[in-house]
């Protein structure tokens, strides 16, 4: 380990960043790479957002107004792929890069060169994927779940680029995860035992294992697709003896852990922010850790709840129903623990706290609809309708995304040494909060009323809900442009921030100066219980 770090110092000269573009291309510094990841994910978030607005514009009214069905399908597909793989996941990796070394008292990530590589793969992967939209026949149009044979025999010619892009994203994620695990397991400051690790570190440790377990499964699925398309195999082609349902089993064996990959680090973030602004130690640290671990375990045995309608035997349906319902238990424990942390605290409501509280409430609502979806006989009615769309957007937007935004506001002073404008932050929060609910709440109703997902046009009874939803989407989209303004303004002219930027903030990162020096904790810090446990 020390060799790697030594080498790193050798060609990166120990005292500060290189100048110009080279700094970013060749950097092995965890803070630089964290910044790259965060800006990249924000760019992807805007691209994915534009696609979402194309969708919402088309759905503003019944009838086809702006785009053709084949283009609409490309919009839904790429919106999903870009948001999942381009916005949410890289944002969490960016936060991991920035925070994990500082939170465990390490000088950098364990494998800095691989860190650089795992970031720089991403722009190529997404460049390739997005370029397919401009190819003859268009880009991926088979949904972000790319069920075969729509994504194989019936796919546009550009699907091969898509497959290659997914391979690259997978390689990047696996490298990132190995790095995170190596850092956490080997580079903690003396005295930081596993059960003293900050929650964000814990959740990422578990997330990284999930990633390593499932990204190869995804790689396997797309490789089989590649073979079906180009080498005449029939993995998923019924006419050749293959099985399209097998694709779904493989996909969701990846896909279900994947959705926890997008939410576990969010749990970690919220577990830092709520104690900080309640000025009170996190309630039930141990049960929080066990809850995350059991959610991760359960995530491997519930995958077929995405496939209740494919025609499984009764015993299979019952198994996946029960195991899915069980997830509500550890998730409930986490929610109760957060509320118990707030209980009899001394709360203030700065922007990160507002986003964190909204996370708890709205994520829980997504949890409720998730529980309803777990009930197989009623899932038949909800499945592939807007009810599902509402559900997963509630856990991903005011869930995962709000936690990321909260994290940015919370650690921004540590990263830049500057404070954002609190009033603007609050305006951003309220706009986002209203926007998200106006967009997604009505979708529960259009789903219950029977509107299928992924359709470019709909029967007239769904008109009102869709109109409201579209209005909300534009509010939400614009409020994220406002977010960009708030951040840029703060970087340019924010007030200087204190080292411990929030009164109640606890953790090793707050013992560093603001902004955190380019190389921090070159000597391991002393780990005091009242600092790391709050």
């Amino acid at each position: 380990m020390s060799e790697v770090i030594h080498a790193d110092h050798h060609d990166d000269h120990a005292h500060g960043p290189a100048k110009g573009l080279k700094r970013w291309l060749f950097t092995t510094n965890h803070k630089d790479i964290g910044t790259l990841y965060l800006w990249f994910s924000f760019a992807m978030f805007l691209v994915g957002g534009v696609l979402a607005l194309v969708i919402r514009a088309e759905l503003f009214q019944p009838g086809l107004q702006f785009v053709q069905p084949e283009f609409f399908n490309q919009m839904t597909t790429n919106h999903g792929l870009i948001m999942v793989f381009g916005a949410i996941m890289p944002a969490f990796v960016g936060l991991a890069n920035w925070l994990i070394p500082m939170q465990v008292g390490a000088p950098d990530m364990a494998l800095p060169r691989m860190n650089n590589l795992s970031f720089w793969i991403l722009p190529f992967a997404f460049g390739m994927m997005i370029s397919t939209l401009f190819m003859e026949g268009g880009g991926p149009n088979f949904g972000w779940t790319f069920y075969a044979p729509l994504s194989t025999t019936y796919a546009p010619p550009s699907v091969t680029y898509f497959i290659f892009a997914v391979h690259l994203m997978g390689a990047s994620s696996i490298m990132g995860s190995i790095n995170i695990i190596a850092t956490i397991l080997n580079m903690r400051a003396p005295g930081m035992t596993l059960m003293k690790m900050p929650m964000f570190v814990w959740t990422w440790l578990i997330t990284a294992y999930l990633l390593i377990a499932v990204m190869p499964v995804l790689a396997g699925a797309v490789t089989m697709m590649l073979f079906d398309i180009h080498f005449d195999t029939s993995f998923f082609n019924a006419a050749g003896g293959g099985d399209p349902v097998m694709f779904q089993h493989i996909f969701w064996f990846f896909g279900h852990p994947e959705v926890y990959i997008m939410i576990l680090p969010a749990f970690g973030i919220v577990s830092h922010i709520i104690p900080a602004f309640a000025r009170k130690r996190l309630f039930g640290y141990t049960s929080m850790v066990y809850a995350v671990a059991s959610i991760a375990f359960l995530s491997f045995i519930v995958w077929a709840h995405h496939m209740f309608t494919v025609g499984m035997p009764l015993a299979g349906q019952l198994f996946f129903m029960y195991s899915t319902m069980l997830i509500a238990v550890p998730t409930g424990v986490k929610v109760f623990n957060w509320i118990a942390t707030m209980w009899r605290g001394s709360m203030t409501f700065e922007t990160p706290m507002l986003f964190a509280i909204a996370f708890v409430v709205l994520f829980t609502m997504g949890g409720f609809s998730g529980l309803m979806l777990a009930i197989t006989p009623v899932d038949y009615q909800y499945h592939d309708t807007y009810f599902v769309v509402a559900h997963f957007h509630y856990v991903l937007v005011p869930g995962a995304l709000f936690s990321i935004i909260a994290a940015v506001y919370f650690w921004f002073p540590k990263w830049t040494g500057k404070m954002y404008d609190e009033t603007l932050g609050k305006i951003h929060f309220w706009l986002s909060f209203v926007g998200v609910n106006v967009t997604f709440f009505p979708q529960h109703f259009s789903g219950l009323a029977g509107m299928p997902r992924r359709i470019p046009d709909y029967p007239l009874q769904f008109a009102d809900f869709n109109m409201i939803s579209s209005v909300g989407a534009f509010i939400f989209g614009l409020s994220q442009v406002f977010f960009l303004y708030v951040i840029i303004k703060a970087i340019r002219s924010g007030q200087p921030a204190a080292d411990r930027s929030w009164e109640g903030a606890k953790g090793l990162e707050w013992t560093l100066p603001s902004p955190a020096p380019y190389h921090s904790f070159t000597h391991p810090p002393a780990v005091k219980d009242e600092e790391v446990l709050g």
Binding site: R281, F283, M325, V329, G345, Y380, F441, F445
Partner: protein, 412 residues
């Protein structure tokens, strides 16, 4: 942008309120603004009622109760789970907001120091588990009831195609004779906002699937190309149509009526345009209809080889093309490059007739071009090929007859 919005807004409202004439549609700007206000008002009211009122009460905001025993059980189960969630939500969010209002620094709250309580943590692990068990019991019961297959009075094979459904009455007495396609009949002009949208916009088909009341009907569901899903919300049943797999579903409907649904698995370009319409007839009426269909089908099959004139071929070809081919090759014959080739000026449509016939009969394996020999009868096949060879500016100048199709098929 805004102006466009107003224009289109106006359009939709008409469809909902009442059909109007074209002249009226181009009403004055002032009128439009007025209507937009009205519409915005309605939206606000809808929004408010969405967010504020008890959701369960309002019909169009909730799951449909449906018309079968199963759908009613499903609805009740949905309400039980939903109300339990609401109760938990009220409790949990109540505590949260109580804390948010009372334990704030600005009110002088001082932070307590507790951070653990094994008893509490055990309680909120065990109690939710118990609640889940309470939910699982009725859920299991309903699911078991749904899996009560067998003992059916009749069976229908449902086959999904890009982008239509095929229904076949499985009836050995008549050699499964009765089989037809059901294709969306909403005109393209309505979709492209060139005419007023009808009441059943996107939910109408040329041929309803007809079933009798009070009999247990079994559906065997499969697909020809990609995965589709067959769903009739009012029956409370939905199942994926997977190529190479037969999925089983059943229903007993008590109320005669017309019930509508849509394909619910993304299946390509026109996924949004393959509705399902089931017409439930009283038993006696169904039996009479079925008998007459079977006998006229038998008669039709006998006369199938008869020669047709150019005009007859073109007329029937036009219909067949519009129903079966236009979704990919487009109504104007231009296709969608590069996936769906144009028929206008196509080398196949201008080349040897038998090659063209063969391509349409056998399809092109590994592409979206299906083997229409298994979907259309010889007269329809001859007509559509003849049509393609003489429409969109093509002029092959030959004749394709049903007998040619029969000869070609037998020759294989």
């Amino acid at each position: 942008m805004i102006k466009k919005g107003v224009g289109v807004l106006d359009n939709t409202e008409q469809q909902i309120l009442a059909p109007r004439t074209k002249v009226e549609r181009h009403s004055s700007m002032k009128n439009q603004l007025c209507r937009m206000k009205h519409r915005l008002w309605r939206m606000t009211v809808a929004l408010a009622s969405l967010l504020l009122t008890g959701v369960a009460a309002a019909d169009e905001l909730n799951l449909r109760v449906g018309v079968t025993d199963i759908s009613r059980q499903v609805y009740d189960l949905h309400m039980i789970i939903f109300l339990i969630c609401v109760a938990i939500g009220v409790l949990v969010f109540g505590v949260l907001f109580w804390s948010v209002f009372n334990h704030r620094k600005s009110r002088g709250a001082e932070a307590a120091t507790f951070h653990d309580s094994t008893k509490l943590e055990l309680a909120w692990t065990i109690v939710p588990t118990l609640i889940l068990i309470v939910m699982a019991v009725p859920a299991t019961q309903v699911l078991v009831a749904m899996y009560d297959t067998g003992g059916e009075d009749m069976s229908i094979e449902v086959r999904g195609y890009q982008w239509k459904w095929q229904y076949k009455y499985l009836d050995e007495d008549y050699n499964n004779t009765l089989s037809f396609f059901s294709v969306m009949s909403t005109p393209r002009e309505e979709i492209y906002n060139q005419s007023v949208k009808g009441e059943n916009y996107l939910l109408d088909v040329d041929e309803h699937l007809r079933i009798p009341t009070n009999r247990k009907v079994r559906f065997l569901i499969t697909a020809e190309d990609v995965i589709h899903a067959w769903w009739v919300p009012d029956f409370g049943i939905k199942r994926d149509a997977v190529p190479g797999m037969l999925n089983e579903l059943w229903t007993i409907v008590e109320e005669p009526g017309i019930y509508r649904g849509q394909c619910t698995e993304l299946c390509g370009k026109d996924h949004g345009f393959m509705p399902i319409v089931v017409e439930v007839l009283p038993e006696a009426e169904f039996d009479a209809w079925y008998a007459s269909q079977v006998s006229s089908e038998l008669v039709r099959q006998e006369s199938i080889g008869e020669a047709m004139t150019h005009e007859e071929l073109m007329a029937q070809g036009d219909t067949v093309y519009g129903t079966y081919c236009a979704s990919c090759h487009m109504a104007n014959g231009e296709g969608v490059a590069p996936v769906f080739p144009a028929i206008a000026g196509s080398a196949v449509a201008m080349g040897p007739r038998d090659d063209h016939l063969k391509l349409v009969i056998d399809g092109v394996p590994g592409t979206a071009m299906q083997a229409f020999g298994r979907q259309l009868d010889p007269a329809q096949l001859a007509a559509v090929v003849h049509y393609q060879r003489h429409a969109f500016g093509n002029n092959a100048g030959d004749m394709s007859q049903p007998q040619d199709v029969i000869n070609l098929s037998n020759g294989q």
